[in-house]
Structures are given as structure tokens and as C-alpha cells.
């Protein structure tokens, strides 16, 4: 039979090696911190277990560390179980609470030192059952190794209890299982980051696929609509051509076709911008609100030379700078164009207000674009920013403009929403509100 101290030394060395590998993997990301803690306590326990051959006090300390490892191991599983099956959005777990609970759990187990072995066993059984449920749901390799680790931890405990009772072969079994326990912990550590990375790339791929499908659908739909409008205009055109005195109708039809061409061009450029924003991390720099707004207003006046548009600017300080970039121009242009486009009044009034606000100790610049347009009913106030949402039958696809705006603002860590100009009566016009972090 092998010398017991030699086996203990082997296990201690083995656990130190696995710990080193574990730490390397942890630094690469993907491993839970609690699993690293388990690994550390396990290693410390193994080292103390070796030293028990010099002084029996180390045996007790070693055992304590083993229990601690089992508790942390169990706790990390309980936490994951809670997140998966019990937690709702409202009672989100907070790190301070977790820390408090861990301290409670540890002190609790230390005071119950006499019944600790059986308590830990029971705890591990519950944890094992929880892991089986998590496994059924997730079907991940990492969780299978975790389950193996929990089972072997449980068996290690049972066999060390048995070996204390001097049952034949129990301590040999305890050693073998301990090695398996260490190995399965290591396997968990090795597979977690790999699986994590795999999941992430799968998620990215799925998102990219969805995006492509969305653009394809949007493009096909809107282009078909544009072609339909051109086709119908041409059909009508040929009918009117044969009738006398229809020059006004003919003129109208030409302007419809012109409009549809513009719509197609806007669609193409919007889709291009949207996909660029989604793919590339954009550069954010201090951007003057005043300068960009001036350009946007100039663009608006040129686009709608035939309409009477009055824009009033209230309290925009020249020193207002946002953490944004040149895409801010698209944001302002889109909102302003909408104010004119969805407006049936002979005189279009737009009021632009600026102010500074502080939310969660972050300084924002708040801009309000208040118009006297047709307004937006409450039930579609959020939908107007969704990509696939189409405002109305004849002008389908216009939802893309505002979804582009929202995407850009989100890139700036800002927010956009819409309210009524006159609270409670949407038909009197809208108020588009933007907040973007201030650049100082």
C-alpha cells in the first residue's frame, strides 16, 4: 500500500497545478469568480491535508476548507438556479446582497461545525438536483462538468466520513474521487470560456442573420411600393394624356414620380447608414449643438422651399456641446423633416428648446423639437422608433428614418422619446425630446 502522506502530497501538487491553469483561464474570461474561489479553497484544503501528517490540527483546518469549497460551489449553483428559474426583472440580484448572504452562509456553517458534514451533504444533494434542472434547460458541457464536480464533492465527503469510521477501502476511494473532483473542476474551467466564446459568436451570427433578413424584407417591400407608385402614375399619365386640359394632373403625376425617386434614394442611404452604425464602433467627440442645428435648419429650408416654415430657437447656448459626432446632423434633419412632412397646416411652426438636465449624476443636454403637425397617437408613440414600423399606407417605410435616429442616439448613450405638444391631445402636434450626454 502506498504511503498516505505521499498520496496527499500528490493531490496537493495536482491541485496547485489545476489552480494555476484555472487562474490562466479565468483571466481570459468566461469563468465565474465563484468557481475560482472554489478552486482556491480546494487547493488550500489539499495543502493543509498534506500537512496533517506533521500536526493533526491541520487536518481540521483542511476539512474546514473542504467544506468551505463545497459551500461556495453550491452557492454558485444556487445563484445560477435562482437567476434562471426564480428571478424576475423586478427583484434583480445585487452584488452587495450576494456578499452578505455568502458571509451569512459561511458563518452559519462554521457555527454548526458538529453537524456540518451531514448539512453539507444535504446541501450538495439539493445543489445536484438544481444542476440537473439547469442542465436539462441549457444542455451545456460546462454544466455537465459542474454536475460531475458536485457529485464527486458529495462522494468525497461521504467517503471521508466512512473512512473516519474505519471502513475498508473507504479512504482509497475518497482519494480517487478527490482526484476526479479536482479534474472535473478543471474541466469546468477549461470548457467554460470555450463554450462562452462559442455562444457569443453564435449570438452574433444570429443577430447578423436577423439584420440581413430585416434589410432584405424592408428593401424589397419599400422598393416594390415605390415601383408600384411609379407604375400607377405612368398608367394614369397615359390616360390623362389622351384627355384635353389635364396639364395640372400631369404635372402632379410628374411630381409624384420625382418624390418616389427621392424616396428610393433616401431608403438606400438610410439602409447604408444603419448597417454602418451597427457594424462599426463610431467615434464620439465634442459636437456643437448650435452648429449642427444651423446646418439642419438650412437643409430643411432648402428641401421645403415651397412651404412656409417658421423655426424658433429658444435658449440654445453656443457653448452647448454634446458627446456625439457628425451623424447628429441626420438626427436633427430627420426630426425636422418629419415635422414638415406630417403637417397639414399652411404655416408650419417648429419650436426648438434646449436645456441642461442631470439624470443619475450624468449631465445631459436636452433638446425639444415641438411642432404643430398631425401628432402621434399614444398607442404608436413607441412604435414610431421601431425599424419595421410603417406610418401609413401611402408612405410606408418612413419608419426607417426615426429608427435610424434612435440607433444614432443610442450610440451616443442618449435617449429619444415623443410627447404631445399639448398634453392629452396628440392631434395638436408632437414634441420630440432628445437627451445626449454633455461634453465639457
Amino acid at each position: 500500500m502506498l504511503e498516505e502522506s505521499l498520496i496527499d502530497l500528490t493531490i496537493a501538487t495536482y491541485s496547485i497545478i489545476t489552480l494555476i491553469i484555472f487562474i490562466i483561464m479565468y483571466r481570459r474570461g468566461g469563468i465565474l469568480f465563484s468557481w475560482l474561489l472554489v478552486m482556491i479553497t480546494m487547493t488550500v484544503a489539499s495543502i493543509f491535508f498534506y500537512f496533517r501528517h506533521f500536526d493533526s490540527i491541520y487536518r481540521i483546518i483542511g476539512n474546514l476548507f473542504y467544506f468551505l469549497a463545497a459551500i461556495i460551489l453550491g452557492y454558485s449553483v444556487v445563484q445560477e438556479y435562482y437567476e434562471m428559474f426564480i428571478k424576475t426583472e423586478k427583484n434583480r440580484i445585487n452584488p452587495a446582497g450576494v456578499a452578505k448572504n455568502s458571509i451569512f452562509l459561511i458563518t452559519f456553517s462554521f457555527t454548526l461545525i458538529n453537524v456540518i458534514q451531514s448539512t453539507v451533504c444535504l446541501f450538495l444533494i439539493i445543489v445536484g438536483v438544481m444542476l440537473i434542472r439547469i442542465n436539462l434547460e441549457k444542455k451545456s458541457i460546462t454544466h455537465s462538468f459542474m454536475l460531475l464536480a458536485v457529485i464527486t464533492a458529495l462522494l468525497t465527503l461521504i467517503f471521508s466520513i466512512l473512512s473516519n469510521e474505519n471502513i475498508d477501502g473507504a479512504w482509497e476511494m475518497a482519494y480517487i474521487i478527490k482526484v476526479v473532483f479536482h479534474s472535473s473542476l478543471l474541466a469546468t474551467g477549461l470548457s467554460a470560456p470555450i463554450e462562452n466564446r462559442l455562444n457569443q459568436s453564435e449570438k452574433k451570427l444570429f443577430e447578423a442573420y436577423n439584420r440581413t433578413e430585416f434589410y432584405k424584407d424592408l428593401f424589397a417591400h419599400d422598393i416594390s411600393n415605390i415601383l408600384q407608385n411609379v407604375q400607377s402614375s405612368m398608367d394614369l399619365f397615359s390616360i390623362y394624356l389622351e384627355k384635353p386640359d389635364q396639364s395640372e394632373e400631369l404635372y402632379n403625376l410628374i411630381s409624384i414620380v420625382k418624390n418616389q425617386v427621392n424616396r428610393g434614394a433616401t431608403l438606400v442611404s438610410n439602409i447604408r447608414k444603419l448597417s454602418e452604425i451597427e457594424e462599426i464602433e463610431i467615434l464620439i467627440e465634442p459636437t456643437s449643438v448650435n452648429d449642427i442645428l444651423k446646418n439642419a435648419i438650412e437643409y430643411l429650408k432648402k428641401t421645403y422651399e415651397d412651404r412656409e416654415v417658421q423655426i424658433q430657437i429658444d435658449s440654445i447656448d453656443k457653448k452647448y456641446f454634446m458627446k456625439a459626432n457628425e451623424l447628429l446632423l441626420n438626427v436633427f434633419e430627420n426630426i425636422l423633416v418629419n415635422s414638415v412632412k406630417y403637417n397639414n397646416n399652411p404655416k408650419i411652426d417648429i419650436l426648438i428648446k434646449a436645456s441642461k438636465v442631470q439624470i443619475n449624476s450624468i449631465d445631459y443636454i436636452k433638446l425639444e423639437f415641438i411642432d404643430n403637425g398631425i401628432g402621434i397617437p399614444d398607442n404608436i408613440k413607441e412604435k414610431v422608433f421601431q425599424r419595421a414600423f410603417i406610418k401609413n399606407k401611402t408612405e410606408s417605410g418612413m419608419g426607417l428614418g426615426l429608427s435610424l435616429v434612435k440607433k444614432i442616439i443610442e450610440k451616443y448613450n442618449g435617449q429619444i422619446w415623443v410627447e404631445d405638444r399639448i398634453k392629452g391631445d396628440y392631434s395638436k402636434g408632437s414634441n420630440f425630446i432628445i437627451i445626449i450626454p454633455e461634453a465639457k
Partner: protein
């Protein structure tokens, strides 16, 4: 534009709706139901397929012709009981032919 074109071709347009919900409400309000309903699919609040479903529940014999750029809903619309599905873009001549056939 359809309105003008259909008028020129001699049809009487009873009313138009800008979304699916409005279409259903309008249909309910008609004492004499229209001969043909021309329906788009992608509309706010309620889409064309949903609106057609409700209209057909009210009156199984209503004749609904879809005119839509969403080819992928063609099967659903036809299975529901629409009598035709025109994929955009189409010529007015074809639309009018289809309407006349349906009548």
C-alpha cells in the same frame, strides 16, 4: 392613386381606410356591403391579414383582393379566403381585369 384610376375606370369607391383597424370599423358601418375590398398588408395598428380575417368572420362571402408588396403573406392571405393577391408592382390594367373577373 388607385382611387383616381378606379374612378376613371368606372368603379364607385365607397370609402378608404389608412389602417387595418379602420378598415374593419368601416366595414362594420356599411349597411350595404361593398362588392370588392382592396387590401394592403403592411399597415399600422392592424395589418391587412388580420383585418381580412375579421372581415371574413363578419361575412364569409366578402370579396377581398390583396394588393401588397409582402409576397410572403400571399399563402396566408389566400388560405384565409382572399379571392386574389396582387404582388406589387402591377399595372392598373391587370388590377382592373382582376376586379372585373371577381365581380
Amino acid at each position: 392613386m388607385y382611387k383616381k384610376m378606379l374612378k376613371i375606370s368606372g368603379f364607385n369607391i365607397v370609402n378608404t381606410a389608412t389602417n387595418g383597424e379602420e378598415a374593419v370599423e368601416l366595414y362594420k358601418s356599411f349597411l350595404v356591403k361593398p362588392d370588392i375590398i382592396l387590401m394592403d398588408h403592411r399597415m399600422p395598428i392592424k395589418n391587412g391579414v388580420e383585418a381580412a380575417k375579421e372581415i371574413l368572420q363578419i361575412d364569409k362571402s366578402s370579396k377581398i383582393i390583396f394588393a401588397s408588396a409582402d409576397q410572403n403573406v400571399k399563402e396566408t392571405a389566400m388560405a384565409l379566403g382572399a379571392i386574389d393577391f396582387k404582388e406589387k408592382p402591377f399595372t392598373m390594367k391587370k388590377l382592373i381585369n382582376n376586379i372585373q373577373k371577381a365581380l
